[in-house]
C-alpha cells in the first residue's frame, strides 16, 4: 500500500483520487466541490458524477471523461480500479484499488443508512481502508431521518403564518430533504433557491422522487406563508432570506447534533439529517471491512485513530490539503 501517498496520489501511474488542483488523471468519488474540481485532463468517475460535474462546471471541465459502472473494472498498467456505491449522494462511489493481491479501498464520503436518492452503500472487504471521519466522535449518533423530517412537517402545520427556509447543500442534501418530505406524504410544491434548480432537474430526470418544485420568484411575500423553501446554507444569512414572511430558519445537517453549533449559526429548527456515516457506522465499517490498516482522511480524526489503536489496527491520519474540518459538504 506504499503505492499511494498521503495526498491520495499514485506516483507510479500518475493517478490522483479527488485532487484539489488540475491533474493528468483524476478519479473522482463524487460531485461535491471539495472532491470534484475543474480542469483535469482525464476524469474517471460514475456517469452521474460526470453529469454533475458538467452541470456545475460546464461540458469542458475536463478534456476526457471515462464513465464507469459500479463494479466495472478499469485497469491502468498493473493497477485495477473498481467503483462501488458509497451511499453519500447520487453517483457517489468508493474506489477499490487492487495491486499485487493488495486490496485498498478509499471510501470517499459515505453513509451506511438507507437513502432513496442514490444507490446504497456497499461494504467492500479490503486490506487497507482509507476512510473519511467527518463525524468521527462518539457524540455523533444520527437519529432516524424520518423523525427529523417530521419535526419540519409538524412545525409547518403549527406555524401557519411563517415560512420555513431549510438550509441544505445544493447537491445531494437538498434533494434528499425533498425526497424525505415526499416519503412522509408531504405533497405541496417545494420552493427552491435558484442555485438548486439545475441539480433538482437532474435528479428528477434520473427518476429520483423529489416531487413538484418551483424556483422562488418575486411573488407577493404572503404567498410563501406556510411554504417550505430550500436554499443553500450561505443564502440563510444573506439578504435573500429576509424577503420572506416571518421565516423560521432550519438547517439539515449532521452538525445540527450539537445545539451550540445550531445556536451559533442562528438556526431555530435544527434537523439532524446527514449524508455521512455517524460514529457507530464508521466503527462498523472499519470492523466489517476486515482491513488491518486504517488511514483516516478529513474530519475529526483524533478519536477514530485512538479507537483503531485500541483495536490493534494500524492507524494514522492523513491530512489532505484544502479539506479542513467543518467546511466540507
Amino acid at each position: 500500500m506504499d503505492f499511494i501517498n498521503h495526498q491520495l496520489f499514485i506516483k507510479d501511474i500518475n493517478v490522483h483520487i479527488d485532487p484539489i488542483f488540475p491533474k493528468k488523471t483524476a478519479i473522482i468519488t463524487h460531485g461535491h466541490a471539495d472532491h470534484a474540481r475543474f480542469g483535469h485532463d482525464h476524469v474517471i468517475a460514475t456517469r452521474q458524477t460526470i453529469d454533475i460535474m458538467k452541470i456545475r462546471y460546464g461540458d469542458k471541465c475536463a478534456k476526457k471523461f471515462t464513465p464507469l459502472k459500479y463494479g466495472q473494472k478499469y485497469s491502468i498498467k498493473n493497477y485495477d480500479f473498481t467503483l462501488y456505491p458509497a451511499g453519500h449522494i447520487l453517483g457517489s462511489a468508493q474506489v477499490l484499488i487492487e495491486k499485487d493481491n493488495h486490496r485498498l479501498v478509499i471510501t470517499g464520503d459515505y453513509k451506511v443508512g438507507k437513502d432513496e436518492t442514490c444507490k446504497n452503500f456497499k461494504l467492500v472487504k479490503c486490506d487497507t481502508l482509507i476512510t473519511e471521519a467527518t463525524f468521527g466522535l462518539p457524540i455523533f449518533q444520527h437519529p432516524d431521518p424520518k423523525d427529523e423530517i417530521q419535526k419540519l412537517i409538524q412545525s409547518v402545520k403549527i406555524n401557519k403564518h411563517n415560512c420555513h427556509i431549510v438550509g441544505a447543500y445544493a447537491l445531494g442534501k437538498a434533494q434528499r430533504v425533498m425526497n424525505l418530505l415526499r416519503q412522509q406524504n408531504y405533497t405541496e410544491t417545494i420552493y427552491i433557491h435558484g442555485s438548486l434548480e439545475k441539480l433538482c432537474e437532474y435528479y428528477s430526470k434520473e427518476k429520483i422522487n423529489i416531487g413538484k418544485f418551483e424556483k422562488v420568484s418575486s411573488k407577493d411575500e404572503s404567498f410563501y406563508e406556510s411554504k417550505i423553501i430550500i436554499a443553500p446554507p450561505s443564502a440563510l444569512k444573506d439578504r435573500w432570506s429576509r424577503r420572506f414572511p416571518n421565516p423560521i430558519i432550519c438547517m439539515a445537517s449532521g452538525w445540527m447534533t450539537v445545539k451550540q453549533r445550531a445556536k451559533q449559526q442562528g438556526i431555530e429548527l435544527p434537523l439532524v439529517i446527514s449524508d455521512h456515516s455517524d460514529w457507530n457506522e464508521l466503527l462498523d465499517t472499519i470492523k466489517k471491512s476486515k482491513a488491518k490498516n486504517i488511514l483516516i482522511t478529513h474530519g475529526q480524526e483524533d478519536a477514530l485513530v485512538y479507537y483503531c489503536k485500541t483495536q490493534n489496527l494500524l492507524s494514522k491520519p492523513l491530512s489532505i490539503q484544502g479539506r479542513s474540518d467543518e467546511e466540507i459538504e
Binding site: 466522535l137 462518539p138 455523533f140 450539537v258 445545539k259 445556536k263 431555530e268 483524533d302 478519536a303 485512538y306
Partner: protein, 522 residues
C-alpha cells in the same frame, strides 16, 4: 420532562425576545406543580447537593472510554451537551414529568447516587438528559435572564414588572403566594426583607469620552475601588451572616467577621485581607477564598476585614429608597455605635472636576486600589446594573507584548473557535508561558487568530495546539504576582488580549527577567 426540555431547547435556539416570552408564557399557563419547578429552575433557585460537574464526569467515565469522552468534550465545549449526546443507548422507561423526576432525585440516598442517577440518565432522551444535567449543574445559559422570566409573568397576568421585582427575592418554592396574587386571588405577598439577601447595586464601566461630557462632577461622590470581594453583611442582635455577591452564604469561611460584629443593619462592602485596615493584595485574599472553613492559623496569617460602602437597613428600617448621601449618614452612625476592628468605612475622595479625579484613579500609594467608583449622590439603592447611577473607572491596565504559544478551543458560545490563548516571553533562547487569556479580542481578531492556529499548528497535546511562534499579542492585565505554581514564576490577574501586534518581530519581545524587573517581582 419532555415538555420542559423542549421549552429549554426552543428557548436556546430562538433569537427573538418576543418568541421567548411567548414560549415561557405558554409553559406558565399550565397549572400544575411543574410550573413551580420550572420557575425555580429558570431563576436558578434549585440545586442538588450531590450532583455536581465532577460527579457527572465520574458517571460518564463509567459508561464510555475516558479519552473518547475528552475528545468529544473538547469538540462540543459544553459538559451537559457532551454527556447527553455520548451517553450510550437507553434502557427505555416511562417518561416522567418534571416534578416527579426532581422529587425522585432529591430522595436518592448519597450512597446510592451513582447507581440511581445512572439509571435515570439512561432512561431519558438526549434532550431530556441535556435538560436534567443543566438543571443539576445550574447556570442554564439559554439566553433567558431572570428579568425576562419576570417580564413574561408580568405580561401574562397584567401586573407591573416593578411589583414583581420588589418581592422576587422573598419568594420561595412552590410560589403559591406568587401565583395566587398574579391571578388576583390574594393580595401581594408580604416578605420580611431583613432575613433575605438583597441583590446588590452594581456599577457600569465609565466611557471616558461620552460619559464625562454629560455628567456633572458636583453631583457625584468618588471612592476607591478596592480589589477584594464584594459582600453583604447582615447583622442583627441574634445573628450575623455574610453573603457573596451572588447571594451565597459564606459565613463559615470568615468566622472572625461573624464573631466580632455587633449591631442591627445590612451592610454592603468589600471583604479584604489586611491588618489595621491596611489592605493587602488580592493574591493574599485568594488564600482565604473557596474554602468552607478557616483554621486559626490561616486567620492569623491572612486576617480579613470589611470596608463598608453602603447600608441597606438600619435597625429594621429600609433605607434603600433614600439617597446615597442620606444613607451614608446612617452608615457613619452604625460605625460609631458598633466600633469594631473588623469594619471600617470606605473614605470619600474630594474632587471638583473629572480631570482632578484622574490622578486618584491612577496614583494611589501602594497600588492596591483598582481605580475609583463614581456614584450619584442622589442614587437610591437599586439592584442590578442600572445605567446612570454608579460607575467604575478602572486604572489603566498594565501591558506586555508576548508571543502566542498554544491555543485551545473555547467553551459555550465560542466553542468552535480556538479562543483560549497561552502566551509567553523569552527565557534565554526558549519561550516560557506567562499567562492564558480568553477575552479582550474583537470578533474579527478572533477569526484571524482561529484561522492562523488551524493553519499553523506544529504540535498537538490532546486538545491543546502548539503553533508557529510568530504572532505577538499585546496583553493587558490588572496585576501580576509571584507564583511558585507556574514555571515562569509569575501569575497574572485578569489577562486579556488587547490587540495583535502585527508590526513587531518576535525577537523584540522581552525576557522573563526583564518582565519581572518591570513589574517589580522578585
Amino acid at each position: 420532562m419532555k415538555k420542559f426540555s423542549s421549552l429549554l431547547h426552543n428557548l436556546i435556539l430562538t433569537p427573538s425576545r418576543n418568541t421567548k416570552i411567548k414560549l415561557l408564557q405558554d409553559y406558565f399557563k399550565t397549572l400544575d406543580i411543574n410550573r413551580a419547578y420550572a420557575l425555580a429552575i429558570l431563576s436558578n433557585q434549585l440545586s442538588f447537593q450531590f450532583i455536581k460537574a465532577s460527579k457527572l464526569r465520574e458517571l460518564v467515565y463509567e459508561q464510555v472510554d475516558k479519552h473518547l469522552f475528552d475528545f468529544s468534550y473538547d469538540y462540543v465545549g459544553d459538559l451537559a451537551e457532551t454527556i447527553s449526546l455520548i451517553w450510550p443507548t437507553k434502557i427505555g422507561g416511562r417518561s416522567k414529568n418534571l416534578s416527579t423526576l426532581i422529587e425522585n432525585i432529591k430522595e436518592i440516598e448519597k450512597s446510592e447516587i451513582n447507581k440511581e442517577f445512572t439509571k435515570i440518565l439512561s432512561q431519558l432522551s438526549n434532550n431530556e438528559r441535556w435538560t436534567l444535567i443543566k438543571i443539576c449543574t445550574g447556570g442554564l445559559r439559554i439566553g433567558v435572564s431572570e428579568r425576562l422570566v419576570k417580564t413574561a409573568l408580568a405580561d401574562l397576568y397584567k401586573k407591573s414588572i416593578n411589583e414583581i421585582e420588589e418581592i422576587w427575592h422573598g419568594l420561595q418554592f412552590p410560589y403559591h403566594n406568587l401565583f395566587q396574587w398574579l391571578k388576583n386571588e390574594t393580595s401581594k405577598p408580604k416578605i420580611d426583607f431583613r432575613k433575605l439577601f438583597h441583590p446588590m447595586m452594581l456599577a457600569n464601566p465609565v466611557d471616558e469620552e461620552k460619559d464625562f461630557k454629560k455628567l456633572n462632577a458636583n453631583e457625584f461622590q468618588a471612592e476607591y475601588k478596592w480589589d477584594g470581594i464584594r459582600v453583604q453583611l447582615m447583622v442583627s442582635p441574634k445573628s450575623v451572616s455574610l453573603y457573596s455577591r451572588t447571594g451565597e452564604n459564606i459565613s463559615s469561611a470568615f468566622p472572625e467577621i461573624i464573631e466580632f460584629t455587633r449591631g442591627d443593619a445590612v451592610i454592603d462592602g468589600e471583604l479584604l485581607v489586611g491588618k489595621n485596615f491596611k489592605p493587602h493584595s488580592f493574591n493574599d485574599l485568594q488564600q482565604r477564598l473557596n474554602r468552607k472553613k478557616a483554621s486559626k492559623d490561616l486567620q492569623g496569617k491572612f486576617p480579613v476585614f470589611i470596608r463598608a460602602y453602603d447600608i441597606l437597613f438600619y435597625k429594621g428600617k429600609d433605607l434603600r429608597k433614600l439617597f446615597l448621601f442620606e444613607r451614608r449618614k446612617y452608615l457613619e452612625k452604625f460605625q460609631k455605635e458598633n466600633k469594631s476592628n473588623k469594619i471600617d468605612i470606605s473614605s470619600i475622595i474630594k474632587f471638583s472636576t473629572w480631570a482632578e479625579l484622574t490622578k486618584y484613579k491612577n496614583n494611589f500609594d501602594d497600588d492596591l486600589n483598582e481605580g475609583v467608583m463614581i456614584k450619584l449622590k442622589n442614587s437610591e439603592y437599586l439592584p442590578g446594573r442600572k445605567k446612570g447611577y454608579w460607575y467604575k473607572w478602572k486604572k489603566n491596565p498594565k501591558l506586555v507584548d508576548a508571543i502566542l504559544m498554544y491555543a485551545q478551543r473555547g467553551h459555550g458560545k465560542r466553542s468552535s473557535y480556538y479562543s483560549d490563548f497561552t502566551f509567553g516571553v523569552w527565557k534565554k533562547n526558549e519561550l516560557v508561558p506567562i499567562g492564558k487569556a480568553y477575552s479582550g479580542y474583537t470578533d474579527k481578531e478572533l477569526l484571524v487568530l482561529d484561522k492562523f492556529i488551524r493553519n499553523n499548528t506544529t504540535n498537538k497535546f490532546g486538545p491543546v495546539r502548539e503553533v508557529k511562534k510568530e504572532i505577538i499579542l499585546e496583553v493587558a492585565f490588572d496585576d501580576v504576582f509571584p507564583s511558585n505554581r507556574h514555571k515562569s514564576g509569575v501569575a497574572m490577574r485578569f489577562p486579556r488580549i488587547h490587540r495583535i501586534r502585527w508590526d513587531k518581530p518576535i525577537n523584540e519581545v522581552i525576557s522573563i527577567e526583564e518582565f519581572k524587573k518591570e513589574f517589580k517581582i522578585s
